[in-house]
Structures are given as C-alpha cells and as structure tokens.
C-alpha cells in the first residue's frame, strides 16, 4: 500500500527510540511471581534497565547483574560470575526463579549459558539475548519462549476451560488484565505469560519489594501444558505459542496480530463465540462495542483531518495504526524500532524502520505524534500534538493504567487522540 522501507540505510542511529533485547527479557521475567531477573553482563546495562523500568512503572524493580569486569570478561566463561551471583542473591532473598539473560558483552565472549545453568542448583531459566540483535519486543518473546521450553511439563491431558494468553511486550498491565477479563467473560480460566497485570500494576506494596510480587507463579507455568487453548497477541509471540504446543500435541492455537480497534476486537469476539457456541457475548462487551462505534463517530471529524506520526515496537505499532486508520485518521508516517513482517500490515502512507531523526526530517507530513517519552521533546520542538504511548514514558504518571486495546480501550484511545489534536488546532 504505502511506501515501505525496512532497511535503515544510515551508519548510525540519531535519537533512537529502540530499546534492547536484555531489557525486554527483564520485563518478561518481572511478569513471573517472585522472580529475580539476572542480567549477565557488565553492571551498567542492569543499572540502566533498573532506572528505566522504575521510572516508567513508578514501582521498585527487582533485578540483579553478574557484574562482569574486565578481568572476568577475559578469564571467566561465565561460570564464576553466574554461580557467584546466584549464591549472593539467594543469600539475601528467596526467589522462586532466577531469570538469567545475556547481553552483547557476554554473547561476544561466547559464554555458554546452557552449560553454566546446568551447574546451578537453583530454579533458573536462561536465555540468550545479545543487544546487537533484535530489540525490546524480541527480548521479551525470547525470554517467554525460554520460560515455556525450560519450565512447562509435557502432557497429553487437556483442560478445555483453560486458556493461556501470550501478550507482546507493549501491552500495558491494565491491557493484559482487560484481555484476560474479556476471554474469562466467555467462561474460561485465563493465565497470562508473562503477566505484568498483577506484578507492575501500581499496587501499594506494604514492604520494600526485593522481589516482584504478583505475576504468574512458577508452579502455574509448569502446568500450562494442559491448557486447551493458547492465544498469542502480536507476531513476536507466535513462536512462543508454537513452543507451548510442542508440550502438548492436543493444544489448539489462535493468533491475533493485535487486539486494537473494532476489527481487531471483533476478531477476538467472533472466535470466542465460535469456540463457545454462544450467540452473543456478555452484555458489557456488547455495550462497549457500541461505545467504541460512538467514539469513532464522535471523533471522526477531528481525526479525519489529522495526519499522524506513529512510533513503536512492531506489534504495538501495528495495533495503534490499525485503530487510528479505521477511525479515519491519516497515518502518514509509521516508524518502527526494528524490522518485522508485521509492518506489511500497516496501511500507512510511509512505513519505515528508523529513529527520531527520521521523524524530524519528515516533520511536514504529520500533526499528531503517538509514541514514547522521547517524543515529548520532538513534539515540543516541532509544535506537534502528542499522545504518549509505549515504553518508556517518564513524562507522565499512570502508564500501567493506559488502555488502548479492545472495544473499551479503543474508545478511550480515539477520544484522547481526537481531543489532543483538537487542542493543538485550537491554539494553532
């Protein structure tokens, strides 16, 4: 449809909004109850990740580093620093799981995580996440797949009421909760992996959290194999669903590229109706669908004259663009952090893999920006309207409460975009 360029031709990134694989893996491990993410690398990566997640979620974040130094970088195959780390962590807290993930440094020196993990006498899941490949989304997906492959017990038993939800990294805690509720409203027991909805939802912890509390339990992960259905959201999560199906040949899989807007949510509802043989979804869902249609109509005048720049991880971007396009907004520029076949699905005028310098160079082509916290400065400088979405966002509070998916979130999202665009036009 539009002009799609998937290759970044520049020798550098200028003002990147892309984030790293290890960071994505950390987030995934934070969605497991009482899990300690352990990043295998020099300490800076972990420190940066901690600051980022703490400020975005406004929550204390559990994470540790193997603290590789110039000496261990050369002499140690990872054995000492990892084994020592596990010893030091478990001396202080008692996690249910350690989530070991690598960085570019330890991948470059060629540490064999699998071999080292075998020496560790503690529940541990390991995953290779070099930061010179992929990004936030793939890091999250790789860690999720590792959780499945290394923890879930194979079985042939099936519980038809049990659904496993595999959300992509950009779904906020409240969005995961809403999707769980949506499916549960059709009579299912839903477990999300990873589950940030109960771990990073802005609850008032009574203690100083040294470990994540909330999230899916390790025991629950072990027994995910008997679920009758697995639902993956976002193309990055497809491989995870396949890994889960390998644990049980009778498990069925349904994939959604996104659950945004009318069409996206209709697809989920239609499938659930077909599965359950119900005529009609629960009343609340019916009402929210009407509200979304109403919001599309109410917002169409403003949105119809708004040209949008959308930025995000591929799975997130696809959903955002879809919502906006079906409500009549003109997505003139969509910029993704990394390449993904998902991008083909975006019906924007210009779809590219790039950075905020690209966004700046195309500044004549849009009025409203939808993107993460880095876009604040951009919008300010270029006098554009701004709706902050994605990770990280330090400019606003309440990130875990932002919901854009399903009929309900879609309605809120369109209203916010329309109002924001209108405000700028008014002052224009």
């Amino acid at each position: 449809m539009g002009e799609i360029s998937h290759r970044n031709t520049k020798p550098l990134q200028v003002n990147p909004f892309k984030l790293s694989q290890p960071m994505g893996a950390t987030l995934a491990f934070l969605g497991v109850d009482r899990c300690m993410p352990l990043m295998h690398g020099a300490m800076g990566c972990t420190s940066f990740t901690k600051v980022y997640t703490t400020r975005h979620f406004c929550e204390p974040i559990a994470i540790q580093t193997t603290a590789v130094t110039d000496i261990t970088a050369i002499l140690d195959g990872g054995d000492t620093s990892i084994v020592e780390s596990v010893k030091n962590i478990t001396a202080k807290v008692s996690p249910s799981l350690i989530g070991l993930h690598s960085t570019g440094l330890t991948e470059t020196k060629g540490d064999d995580l699998r071999a080292v993990a075998a020496q560790v006498d503690f529940p541990l899941v390991y995953v290779n996440t070099p930061d010179y490949e992929g990004g936030l989304e793939s890091g999250w997906a790789l860690a999720t797949r590792a959780l499945i492959e290394q923890l879930v017990e194979p079985t042939e038993a099936i519980d038809d009421d049990k659904v496993v939800l595999l959300p992509h990294v950009s779904l906020t805690p409240i969005e995961v909760e809403k999707i769980k509720e949506f499916i549960a409203a059709f009579g299912y027991d839903v477990l999300a992996l990873p589950d940030l909805s109960t771990s990073l939802d802005g609850h008032l912890g009574e203690k100083q959290a040294a470990l994540s509390s909330g999230g899916i339990g390790v025991e629950q992960i072990r027994t995910l194999g008997d679920a009758g259905l697995v639902v993956s959201v976002g193309d990055s999560m497809r491989a995870c669903a396949e890994a889960l199906q390998k644990k049980n040949p009778f498990m069925r899989h349904r994939h959604f590229s996104h659950l945004s807007g009318l069409e996206g949510t209709d697809a989920l509802a239609a499938w659930l109706l077909a599965e359950t043989g119900r005529e009609c979804p629960p009343e609340a869902i019916v009402r929210w669908r009407r509200r979304l249609q109403d919001a599309m109509l109410d917002g169409h005048f403003s949105l119809g004259q708004t040209r949008v720049l959308a930025l995000g991880e591929p799975d997130h971007l696809t959903g955002l663009c879809h919502s906006l396009l079906e409500a009549g907004a003109k997505v003139t520029v969509a910029i993704s952090t990394v390449a993904s076949p998902q991008l083909e699905r975006i019906q924007g005028r210009r779809v590219l893999v790039g950075d905020l310098e690209d966004a700046e160079n195309l500044c004549d082509e849009y009025d409203l920006i939808v993107g993460n916290g880095h876009c604040e400065a951009l919008a300010h400088r270029l006098h554009k309207a701004l709706v902050l979405r994605g990770f990280p966002n330090w400019e606003e509070v309440g990130n875990p409460l932002k919901q854009d998916v399903l009929y309900e979130g879609g309605a809120y999202f369109l209203c916010e975009c329309a109002n924001t665009a209108e405000k700028l036009r008014g002052h224009g």
Partner: protein, 450 residues
C-alpha cells in the same frame, strides 16, 4: 600514540583521602549483589554537558538507548543542543563479527556533515572494546580529515564504576582537549569549574554571583560547557572542584602540568555556598576580592533569610531522616540544617570514607550514620520522632507506615537545590511534603479491612 589511560593508576588516586585504606574502593562489583552504573555512564555524565559537541556511542543499542535524555543538564548554548541528542553506531551482528571501525568512521562522517559540531566524543563500550575496534585510529583519521577534535573516550562499562568512568572522561578531555587552544584573553580571576554538570541548572544558582565578583568561569567540565572553552582551560588561575570528587586526578594532573592549584567545595545550602564563594576568593588571593566577597555573602544571606522566614516557623522543631548516597549524604543534610531542620540520621552505605567523615562532621555526635538504612530507618524514625523522610522511592512505604511526610531525593530531580536560591526550592518542596495529606490518606484502611 596509545591514548588508553592506565586504569590502575586512576584507581589509586593519590589525592583521594581513602587512598591508603581502600585501594580499589571504586572498583569492586560483587556479582548478584551490586547496583550502580558503569564506567561508560560515568564518562558520559562527565562529558555530556558539552552542548556543542556530538556524543557518539560506539556500541550496541543498550548503552545509548537507555542513557540519552535521562539527565536534565541545562545549557545556554544557542545552537542545536547536543546534550538533548543521542548518537550511536548501534552495532549489529555483522559488526561484531567483522569489526565496527568502518561503520564508526561512516557515522562520524554523517554527524559532521549533518550537524557540524565543535567536536565529537567517541565512546567505546563493552562490546566494541572486546572486539578490539581501534577507535583511537578512527578518531585520529577523522580529526585529521575534518580538522577538529574527535576524542576517543576509553571507558567501556566493564572496567568499573560510574565514578571511575567520570575520571576516564576527564582523562580524555585532558589528553585531547585541554591545552589545545589559547583563550582570547585572560584575567587574574579566571577559574575552571570541575565536576559541576549543571543538572537542573545548579550552576546557574551561583554563577551570576561569581560574575558579579568579577570572577570569570574560563571553562567548565562540563556543566553548560563549550568545547572551545575547555580547550583553553590550561590558562586558568584556579581549578574549583564542585562537590564531586570524581575528577580529582584530573585537577592534580593539571596542577603538575600547568601549575594550576585546586580547591574542592560544595554549593548546597547556605553555609556551604557562602564558604564556597569565600574559598574561591581566598584561593585567588586578592584582598579586595575577598572583601567584596564577604560583603556579597552578607547581602545574599540577609536576602535569603528574609525569604526563608515564613518557612522557619513551619520547620521549627522538625526532625528528618536522610537516606541517599554519595556526597548527598552530607550536602543535603547541611542544607536541611540551614533550614532549621534537625537531621537525626543519614545513610552512609553508599558513601566513600571521605563522605562518611564529612557526614559525621555535619551531623555531630548525636546523629546516626546508617550503614544499613533499609533496615534501620523505620526504627530511627520511631525512636527519634522524625517528621520527614528524604530518600529514594523505595522507602516511600516506610514513611507511609510511620505516617510521616516523604520527599524523593533520588529520582532524577527537576528542580535545582543548589546555591542560595536552590535552598528556597528545597524549602518549598519540603513544606509541600509536610503539608500534603496524601501520606496519611493512602495509609487509611478500607471499610472492609480491620
């Protein structure tokens, strides 16, 4: 010419007060029990405020993606502000296999063509240091081609802590910038400000006072800094280390090489600001200047006192517990005392020995120096009847549990607490915290809870 500094030498800085007792105090991370930034981060912090230089991070995405736009280092530079920009070679798999030097060279070309900065700092990071990219050679080549400084910064994360990284950043400036340009003119009162990064505009809380006294800031490392200025820093009469000890080796070397003496001070709180101004005047050794400085201090303190009066009543009899790290353990404590708040305890877990000594001095014999603040602070709040907890976000729940006010001192701050005026900002923030009912309200039980 090898420009890699000798790490060991920097760690054993002879001018550090803890030098004798703890040789590698700045560089001993424990696997699985360590928090804190890496050397790369420290180097970037120390050089980043040069707003007219591009900062190019040679490494995979982690290093830069998570570090640009994270610090509010303000600048008065009127051109494009590069402190608000991030440049990275974002090396990929193929670069790791075949080397990233060509990509680095292309990236430098790109920056020079599109942004024309005064200089480029090129930061090595863990991966590019490990694969052995020769950034010295690339930088030299680019510097010759374009005729401007292209400075290699050798502080890959794995060599150590943030603090060491700051030293390495300073080292890079010393080796490649300082002394490469003559200033247009000099004055007898030229100083360099070292280790002030102008976070939230801290430097501007006192720079106008220096100005008024006729003291010229010849260059800074690197708050509101300019490349041209630091290149001529060797002509200053005095190096003033502001708060941070991390650049002490740089000032020692400048003393050896250029004969510039140095003093170390802080601009937090009323007493320290006054003492700092006077220390500069005295070090410059001009009787008239000292006299004028004394008069200025009297004037400023009087003006401050007048503005503080309404707060004083509110703060009378109030006690605070402070849980933070580094020099904040004592500098904020001193500022609190200036406001008439009694500091009953401060955390020294993350402080150097010099900072601990200083904290003891500031708090006096009765003050508690907490070695394990997470566990101790709740008890101390109770025992001493503290009204206010200043700490990082994690400790919020301690405050709620004890039903006292809380102020976050670790979050990347948005307001300056430096100088005389900064003290007013601090007073206002603390007043708001003390008056805010939220701490009591969130602690309230629900109707269905016992």
């Amino acid at each position: 010419m090898a420009t890699k500094p000798k790490i060991k030498e920097l760690l054993e800085e002879s001018a550090c007060s803890h030098h004798k007792t703890k040789k590698t105090s700045c560089n001993a991370p424990t696997p699985g029990a360590t928090t804190g930034g890496c050397a790369f981060e420290g180097a970037q912090i120390s050089l980043f405020p040069y707003a007219d230089a591009a900062h190019l991070v040679h490494g995979p995405i982690t290093c830069l993606a998570a570090s640009w736009e994270t610090r509010a280092t303000k600048t008065s530079h009127t051109g494009r502000d590069f402190t608000q920009m991030g440049f990275t070679t974002d090396i990929a798999n193929t670069d790791v296999v075949f080397g990233g030097e060509q990509k680095l060279l292309n990236a430098i070309d790109y920056i020079l063509q599109h942004y024309s900065p005064e200089a480029i700092f090129v930061y090595a990071t863990c991966v590019t240091a490990l694969i052995g990219d020769d950034i010295d050679a690339v930088c030299r080549q680019a510097a010759e081609k374009y005729g401007l400084p292209v400075v290699p910064v050798h502080a890959p994360g794995f060599v150590g802590s943030k603090n060491l990284g700051s030293r390495l950043g300073g080292e890079a400036a010393l080796m490649h910038l300082i002394g490469t340009l003559e200033p247009e003119f000099t004055t007898p009162f030229d100083i360099n400000l070292i280790g002030e990064y102008n976070v939230t505009g801290d430097m501007w809380q006192y720079s106008h006072l220096l100005d008024e006294l006729g003291i010229r800031i010849l260059s800074t490392l690197s708050g509101d800094g300019r490349v041209r200025a630091i290149r001529s820093a060797h002509r200053a009469r005095l190096n003033v280390i502001v708060c941070a000890k991390s650049l002490i080796s740089l000032t020692r070397k400048m003393e050896e090489k250029y004969g510039i003496p140095h003093i170390s001070l802080s601009f937090y709180g009323k007493r320290d600001t006054s003492a700092g101004l006077l220390a500069i005047a005295e070090a410059l050794g001009d009787a008239d200047l000292i006299e004028r400085t004394k008069r200025l201090i009297v004037r400023e303190e009087a003006a401050l006192e007048e503005k503080l009066a309404p707060y004083r009543a509110l703060f009378r009899g109030k006690k605070a517990v402070l849980n933070t790290g580094g020099n904040k353990t004592w500098s904020i404590a001193a500022a609190l005392q200036d406001l008439g708040i009694e500091v009953v305890a401060t955390a020294v877990k993350k402080a150097t020995e010099a900072d601990r000594e200083k904290a003891r001095e500031v708090l006096g014999e009765k003050g508690v120096l907490m070695m394990n603040p997470g566990a101790e602070q709740a008890r101390i709040i109770e025992e001493r009847g503290a009204h206010l907890l200043l700490a990082g976000g994690r400790s919020l729940y301690t405050a709620i549990k004890k039903g006292i006010a809380f102020a976050d001192v670790n979050q990347e701050k948005k307001k300056s607490y430096g100088g005389y005026n900064g003290l007013l900002n601090l007073a206002e923030d603390l007043k708001n915290a003390l008056e805010n009912p939220v701490f009591k309200n969130v602690a309230k039980r629900a109707p269905w809870e016992k």
